[in-house]
């Protein structure tokens, strides 16, 4: 693996940087190498967390120091590997009510991008987004392939609380907040579905490698689905 850099992330983790762009190939590579490192079962190494462009490796500094560990990681990453495919066979539909009280930043995104609000919605919905990783919060899907015309920078002062189910845009990324959280993304809509439910199996209805599609719904439909709670059946397509 060429051109990787390794840096400390404090004294209990390190960060391996593979690149600086969101791409399916890069994401596949990182997930594959994460498995290589996990399989190596190095002494002192804990969780290996793959993200879009980097890998965070958690470790116990009492068992192995930064210098020694980075050498071992570098050696493992020199090995060539076959890449895992993103699972192209499952599409999970997420109903979203766009704008209004559910999407307070929709007009800002429209202004920033020079599109009408309707154009923002039609470009955001009706398109497949591969799930690159889950992170930030349980069930939070990091999605790829946002239409570049919709890129909008994050808030410079993150909101203290974002309502669960909020759909947002942050820079070149899009995703959904599955539970209430602080956050800096621009909010354009909200889903009535509970995306993380520790009492349900599985707790989250998708995994890294699936694809998500947002389906616009009205406020009336939003309320109806919300009332159904866990009785609501998500529309999931397999083999597409």
């Amino acid at each position: 693996m060429k051109n990787i850099s390794i840096a400390p992330l404090g004294d209990h983790a390190l960060c391996v940087t593979f690149g600086n762009a969101i791409s399916v190939d890069l994401s596949n590579t990182i997930r594959s190498y994460s498995q290589v490192i996990a399989d190596a079962r190095l002494t002192g190494v804990g969780e290996v967390v793959p993200t879009y462009c980097t890998m965070m490796i958690c470790y116990d500094p009492l068992q192995i120091g930064y210098g020694t560990l980075s050498e071992k990681i570098r050696a493992l990453l020199k090995q060539p590997l076959p890449s895992a495919e993103i699972d192209l066979t499952r599409r999970v539909h997420i109903p979203v009510c766009y704008g209004g009280k559910f999407g307070p930043d929709l007009s800002f995104v429209a202004q920033h991008t020079g599109l009408t609000e309707e154009e923002v919605i039609s470009r955001h919905a009706g398109r497949d987004y591969p799930i690159f990783m889950l992170g930030f919060l349980p069930g939070f899907p990091y999605l790829g392939d946002l239409d570049s015309a919709l890129n909008t920078p994050r808030l410079s002062s993150p909101r203290i609380r974002i309502a669960p189910g909020s759909v947002g845009i942050g820079g070149e990324q899009t995703g959904i907040y599955p539970i209430a959280s602080p956050g800096g993304w621009r909010l354009i809509g909200r889903t009535p579905i509970k995306l993380f439910d520790p009492k349900r199996t599985p707790a989250t209805p998708y995994v890294a490698g699936n694809r998500i599609r947002f389906d616009p719904i009205s406020e009336l439909e939003y309320n109806a689905i919300f009332e159904q709670g866990s009785d609501y059946q998500l529309w999931i397509e397999d083999g597409v």
Binding site: P8, D11, Y52, G135, F136, R154, S156, E172, G184
Partner: protein, 297 residues
């Protein structure tokens, strides 16, 4: 807010489930040692104001942090083993200093671990008692009913003046100007009131960037210092998000996390850069010292 916390939940960051755990693991460790528990056993954590608990059996407890507890109305010492009996009422009250306090019970609580830990993650609704903060009238079963030999620890002296916190710089220092880095290491920052278990928000000289602080989201470590566009640093703590999209200037050295957790709003902070090697040596020294200390109990 009072929750059950141990040293946290590890291995689930890839699912977006953060570590949670005690904000000040050092004070929890001391509370546990005083009642004969392993240092990382689950205890009660409270913030600025502690709970009042009633016992319906013999038990052995301790309170650490800057609190002045009362047993049946009479003041008792924190940092001391307290033997209690049926009908006794322990009132923790307001913090006299610091922010977080701990109540440990001999044998800890008879609750199930969730994903390997008893720590409460209120955002996810897992751990502790039904993933919630503790509320009035709740009963929590204990594993042991016993009295123990009383021990005492000299309480830590409250630090006055600015708190010097050690930082390992990186990994996105290249996003900041020299002036920005100099401000971070040279100026005083003040702990803001919006600080909580997710993060300590600081106010002070804006940290200047070359071209903004948006990055492609990557992993967050405990103590990571994120700088959003307004230049005001946020230090990610126990209930932090597992990934984040603001550039990280550095990560607090592990041994300084407990000290930072105890900094009240209004407290002044100054940052000092250290190497990862020095930080790891300091951490090893701390662990060895705690092991030796524990063996005296």
């Amino acid at each position: 807010m009072t929750t059950i916390q141990d040293f946290g939940r590890s291995g689930y960051l890839s699912s977006g489930i953060t570590s949670s755990g005690a904000m000040d693991t050092h004070s929890l460790a001391l509370a546990n040692l005083l009642v004969g528990n392993p240092m990382d056993a689950a205890g009660l954590e409270f913030c600025l104001f502690g709970p009042t608990v009633a016992f319906d059996s013999d038990s052995c407890v301790s309170v650490t942090g800057g609190f002045s507890p009362k047993l049946n109305g009479a003041p008792v010492k924190s940092y001391t083993t307290l033997n209690v009996s049926t009908g006794d009422v322990l009132e923790v009250g307001y913090a006299q200093s610091g922010v977080y306090g701990y109540l440990a019970v001999s044998g800890s609580f008879a609750i199930e671990a969730v994903l390997g830990s008893m720590s409460t993650n209120t955002r996810c609704g897992i751990g502790g008692v039904d993933g919630n903060r503790l509320s009035d009238g709740m009963d929590i079963a204990l594993r042991q009913e016993e009295h123990r030999e009383c021990k005492a620890i000299i309480p830590p002296v409250e630090e006055t003046g600015p708190l010097y916190i050690r930082v390992i710089l990186g990994p996105q220092t290249d996003r900041f100007t020299k002036r920005g880095l100099d401000a971070f290491l040279g100026e005083e920052y003040t702990v803001a009131v919006q600080s909580d278990r997710m993060g300590i928000r600081l106010e002070g000289a804006a940290i200047e960037t070359i071209n903004g602080t948006d990055i492609i989201s990557d992993g967050t470590a405990l103590g990571a210092i994120q700088v959003p566009g307004n230049g005001q640093p946020i230090i990610l703590m126990a209930d932090r998000q597992t990934t984040g999209g603001y550039a990280k200037l550095g990560v607090i050295a592990s041994i300084d996390i407990p000290r930072l957790a105890q900094a009240k709003p209004g407290r002044k902070i100054r940052f000092v850069s250290i190497s990862v090697e020095d930080a790891q040596k300091n951490y090893a020294d701390y662990c060895n010292a705690m092991k030796r200390f524990a063996s005296e109990f």
